[in-house]
Amino acid sequence: MSDLENITNQIRLATDYQVNKRILREKIQTDLQIPHNGGLFKVSIELISFLNSWDQDELFLEDLYQNPIKIDRKELLNKCREHYQMVMNTWHVQHEEIRRARKV
């Protein structure tokens, strides 16, 4: 294999890794969405921080469909924490798998 072919193959592998990484991230964004009390929320560090710091236990939060949803702060916070942990772990595991494939 010539030097040029080698470089081309290496670039292709690197590019493919970036594409796979992007697709995986999009899937994780979908997985982060959870239904709660008739609403749909995307679990994020901002949402978790907000729920953690708010001083009332009952409040209304805007969901992804721009509806105000009545929530129990502690209940949603627990749900978000568990879900976030689970999805991030999955992301890490699957990211390692596609990284390994890059070296093949």
Binding site: L24, K27, L40, Y65
Partner: protein, 269 residues
């Protein structure tokens, strides 16, 4: 005191498949149905004009379908995508997941949408492995809706969406001119986009969409394999490793191959 029994709502998947000389859409729908059934655990109904016995489907509804579409410059390339608007009337379910037969259900993300109160939800955002798909259609920049996936409940507003899509199919030339959309072939995507736009008072801010992106493979595919929740998709000169998720595969010839049949068998266990 009188006791009332609350009837559980029925939910299922609805597919349309009309064979052509070149493509056995019913066979593709059978494979797609196997994946949907295995992943979602829901009953599947097929709408077709073919005579079917002993199939994977829980129910087969036979209808006539006369609409033919020709690919520009290829008079022998025909597809029959009409009458999708009849899904509302034909669906035996209170809550229906209407999908194209080339949409492969490999995860249950769709189910979380049913926990909300809605009339219908349409796939709005689309992407290929490399890029986001164009989000608008026509010179007025109408927000694209993909009829590939439509979730609907039997409500007055959903009925209007489908009735209006039927009206647009019957008067297609008028509506594509009105909306300045190119192409004379009937497309369900266009019909439902226009119907959705009219139904929501021409307001593009109304959010009836599914809030994530559909992943579409528009090129020819050589093989699909799955290992440890990672799917490997090989095209002629590239391969993708993606997490197990719903995908839209436009290569109909691939969906009829033995390789795809093996993939379905592996996923369904």
């Amino acid at each position: 005191m009188k006791k009332y029994v609350v009837q559980e709502k029925s939910r299922g998947v609805l597919l349309f498949a009309f064979n052509t000389d070149a493509v056995n859409y019913v066979k593709i729908a059978e494979r797609s149905a196997q994946l949907a059934k295995s992943t979602l655990g829901l009953p599947i109904t097929l709408v077709t004009d073919s005579h079917i016995i002993n199939s994977i489907f829980d129910r087969v509804i036979q209808v006539d379908n006369f609409l033919l579409n020709y690919k520009p410059g290829q008079a022998n390339y025909v597809w029959r995508n009409g009458d999708r608007y009849r899904a509302y009337e034909l669906s035996p379910y209170d809550e229906t997941i209407l999908i194209d037969s080339d949409y492969l259900i490999l995860d249950d993300s769709i189910l979380k949408l049913f926990e909300q109160d809605f009339d219908y939800r349409i796939m709005t955002h689309n992407q290929t492995p490399d890029n986001d798909w164009n989000e608008t259609m026509g010179i007025f920049g109408l927000q694209y809706q993909w009829a590939t996936v439509i979730l609907f409940k039997k409500t007055k507003k959903s009925k209007m969406l489908f009735d209006l899509a039927g009206r647009i199919q019957r008067n297609y030339g008028y509506y594509i001119n009105l909306y300045h959309i190119r192409g004379s072939q009937f497309r369900n995507d266009y019909a439902f986009t226009i119907s959705n736009n009219i139904l929501n008072g021409y307001n593009q801010e109304m959010t009836m969409g599914i809030p994530w992106k559909m992943l579409t493979f528009a090129n020819g595919i050589n093989s699909l394999t799955i290992k440890d929740k990672i799917v490997t998709i090989k095209e002629s000169n590239r391969a993708y490793l993606i997490p197990k998720q719903n995908i839209h595969v436009m290569d109909k010839n691939y969906l009829l191959t033995d390789n795809f049949e093996n993939f379905v068998r592996t996923v369904c266990g």
